[in-house]
Amino acid sequence: MATAVQTVERENYLNSNYGIKSWLLTTDHKRIAVLYLISITAMFWLGGFFAMMIRLELLTPAGDLVSSDTYNKLFTMHGIIMVFFFLIPAVPAVIGNFVVPLMVGAKDMAFPRVNLLSWYLYMAGAITALTAMVTGGVDTGWTFYTPFSTTYSNTHVIGAAIGIFIAGFSSILTGLNFIVTIHRMRAPGLTWRRLPLFCWSNYAAAIIMVLGTPVIAITLLLVALERAFHIGIFDPRLGGDPILFQHLFWFYSHPAVYLMILPGMGVISEIVACFSRKRVFGYEFVALASIAIAVFGFLVWAHHMFVAGISVYAALVFSLLSYLVAIPSAVKVFNWTATMYKGSISYNTPMLYAFGFIGLFTVGGLTGIFLASLGIDVHVHDTYFVIAHFHYVMVGGGVMAYMAGLHFWWPKMTGKMYPEAWAKLSALLVFVGFNTTFFPQFILGYMGSPRRYHAYPPEFQVLNVLSTAGASILAVGYVLPMIYFVWSLRYGKDAGPNPWNATGLEWMTSSPPPTHNFDETPVVTWEAYDYEHQPQEEITVGH
């Protein structure tokens, strides 16, 4: 299948139409994915810049690089941008948007105009939040805890809250579109049991988007109202309960971390199968584990509040439920590993990222068990232990998977191959840099170094220096792909429709795909990951 190198440029979604208007008014899911790719990348660099500033400040124990107010704004903006404007939309809105309709054999998402509206809402939210940041910043932390955010902060909390509120609707509409698309737009013969796992995991993530996001939207709206009019819903001076805010906030924001990781898990399932030339081990269990994570994810939120003053009995219930959500994640990791057993494994860049993902996610997941444990959580809550755990899952997991997916589908999106050697180097740098940055933070956290500290006692310095050193390696690891991806657009080799010799409907159309995806609607008669019947061919490009 990967043989025909096209000599005449075929009409595809990129060259079918030109001009800025053809992009800004497009309803083609592939073009919208590209719009998201550009805007999300910009947000990633901005959030990354704030992260570097934070790490530089923490080189020395004294707060000498920036003032404490600036530092507080830096970590707040890093959090808001990375969580709400990068991690949540990254895999679903870029890769999912591009690939899911192709995977289910549809011509487009169920609601193409709603899809475009999602992007505009995302941009409107981002611009609102950025305006708040540029005109003075926000210093509440991305968690907006009341009553600090409603009463004591003197910064642009309302602007940031409204920005997230708007972006929330982008997320809601994206999730809605995924659910309806996967239910209603599947090609004939593509039953649920034949559905690629990436679709399953996006479906699970969409459940969280649809059911969780409205709650944080109304919560942040209440924060904005409380701040503007002092209506007293969360302010204890007016009789309100600040813990209610935390309940409502984490009702969304805990499932949201599953929303960030689930689509990434789907990416890993695709890649592990493809580069092991095997059907995913225990397909049904991996698929159902996605749904289980999405559902159980809603039952555990108060483990963020064990020391917040909730009742002892509620803490017990939430601790127990928190352990349960670890199980489906473990099931996934074991199944990916088992998929490699007796496979035929090649070390292409996406697979290297997938190795990294499985390893780092394992560490991230297991340290989550520490935090679910009431006895340990009391000590490490709000310390660098939590920071390290969170970044292991979100950066070691989520961003690794995003990079893996980008490398895997880049040939499909652009029709071009990137330089494999550079890509492997960057994967290695990311892995090494990431561990050097965040592993020391586990130790820091257990030693008791609290998070969100602008200055810290000198005994924590060695580990902080190590962490900052790692962050600079990590930064190089992220800059490289940016360069060679752009380079590949012009100088990359043609990819052909199926450079990895992978299964899945998206590889059966040309690269880049035509605007209508498929010349005729495919009829599916085979199982997902049918590598047994896929012609065994050497991978012809990308060495």
Binding site: D139, Y283, F355, L374, V378
Partner: protein
């Protein structure tokens, strides 16, 4: 090098070893599974690399395996849950006879008030080996009382009391951090916990740094008179308000049929917001003291009402001056 790179905070409380014990177990479990996964990936990736293993063997899955790696982790998790919860229960239940310290957190400092009227700023002095219960409240944003060497942490909330406790086991000076982000100088909201020999502690206590004007409960009693509380809350059954003697820690029947325990938070709420929970048989006539008593005065009042519990009718005279004479109430 290692001197600058410690891996654990000091263990200076009775609880520290328990938390560390569970921590070690968790590390062992995590290390086992991490190594298992890493080793398996590495082994498969090398053994089944395409150049030596060009044809994959298709394996669909295995129900016994799926069950095994669902149920075994689940079992381990339940053990960890039980152990972690046992530790948490100890953390959540302060011993009855603990010495009490009242804490007011505000941006960005810690104020401590001891039972016998001493006051401290950002430094908490405690005797080694004694149970200490912290009764904490915030004047502004949420703060968090975190002593890594004791392995304890509890958020300090505005508008209500939260509590935590510890028993220091080692003389020394330890970090006290605010671990809940609270604004500009959050990272400067660091104090010290100074654990002293009991004799040193006595000396420090009687050395009487400024501000000691009688015990906390006695101050509270004074306020109780000044604010006119005593006119209604009499120690007989004739008062327009409930009799407070022996109240603290006991269940109270409310007019809507519910029963609440008269803990610090209940007493606090009844002062600031008397209409919220009305004792059965009384009328909602008490005015609110919201905005009229400072956080410190509130704590003195609470300490006083709590001290009334120790003077049961049979006259178990408490410890000297802190035991109020109930006849004064009339």
């Amino acid at each position: 090098m290692w001197k600058n790179l410690p891996l654990f905070p000091e263990r200076a409380s009775a609880l520290a070893w328990q938390v560390d014990g569970l921590y070690f177990l968790l590390i062992a479990v995590s290390a086992f599974f991490t190594l298992l996964i890493f080793a398996a990936i590495f082994y498969f990736a090398v053994k089944y690399r395409r150049s030596v293993h060009p044809h994959a063997v298709q394996i669909e899955g295995s129900l016994p395996l799926e069950l095994a790696w669902t149920l075994i982790p689940l079992g381990i998790c339940m053990i960890l849950f039980a152990w972690g919860s046992l530790i948490y229960f100890q953390e959540a239940r302060p011993p009855k006879d603990a010495m009490e310290v009242y804490v007011v957190a505000k941006q960005w400092m810690w104020k401590f008030e001891y039972e016998d009227g001493q006051r401290d700023l950002n430094q908490l002095h405690v005797p080694v080996g004694r149970d200490v219960k912290m009764i904490m409240s915030s004047q502004d944003a949420i703060h968090s009382f975190f002593v890594p060497a004791f392995r304890i942490k509890a958020d300090v909330l505005p508008g209500r009391f939260t509590t935590t406790w510890f028993r220091p086991t080692k003389v020394g000076t330890y970090h006290l951090f605010c671990s809940q982000y609270c604004g500009t100088n959050h990272s400067a909201m660091i104090g010290q916990v100074i654990v002293m020999d009991p004799t040193d502690y006595q000396a420090w206590m009687s050395g009487g740094a400024g501000g000691s004007t009688g015990t906390l409960a006695a101050n509270g009693q004074q306020l109780f008179q000044q604010l006119g509380c005593a006119t209604c809350h009499r120690s007989d059954t004739q008062g327009r308000g409930p009799n407070l003697v022996g109240l603290s820690g006991k269940p109270v029947l409310l007019d809507d049929g519910r029963t609440v325990i008269a803990d610090e938070n209940y007493i606090r709420e009844s002062i600031l917001n008397p209409g919220a929970k009305i004792v059965s048989g009384f009328k909602p006539i008490m005015p609110t003291f919201q905005g009229q008593v400072s956080e410190e005065n509130l704590m003195a009042l609470v300490a006083y009402v709590k001290s009334l519990a120790q003077t049961q009718p049979k006259g178990e005279a408490g410890d000297g001056s802190s035991a109020p004479n109930t006849s004064k109430l009339q």
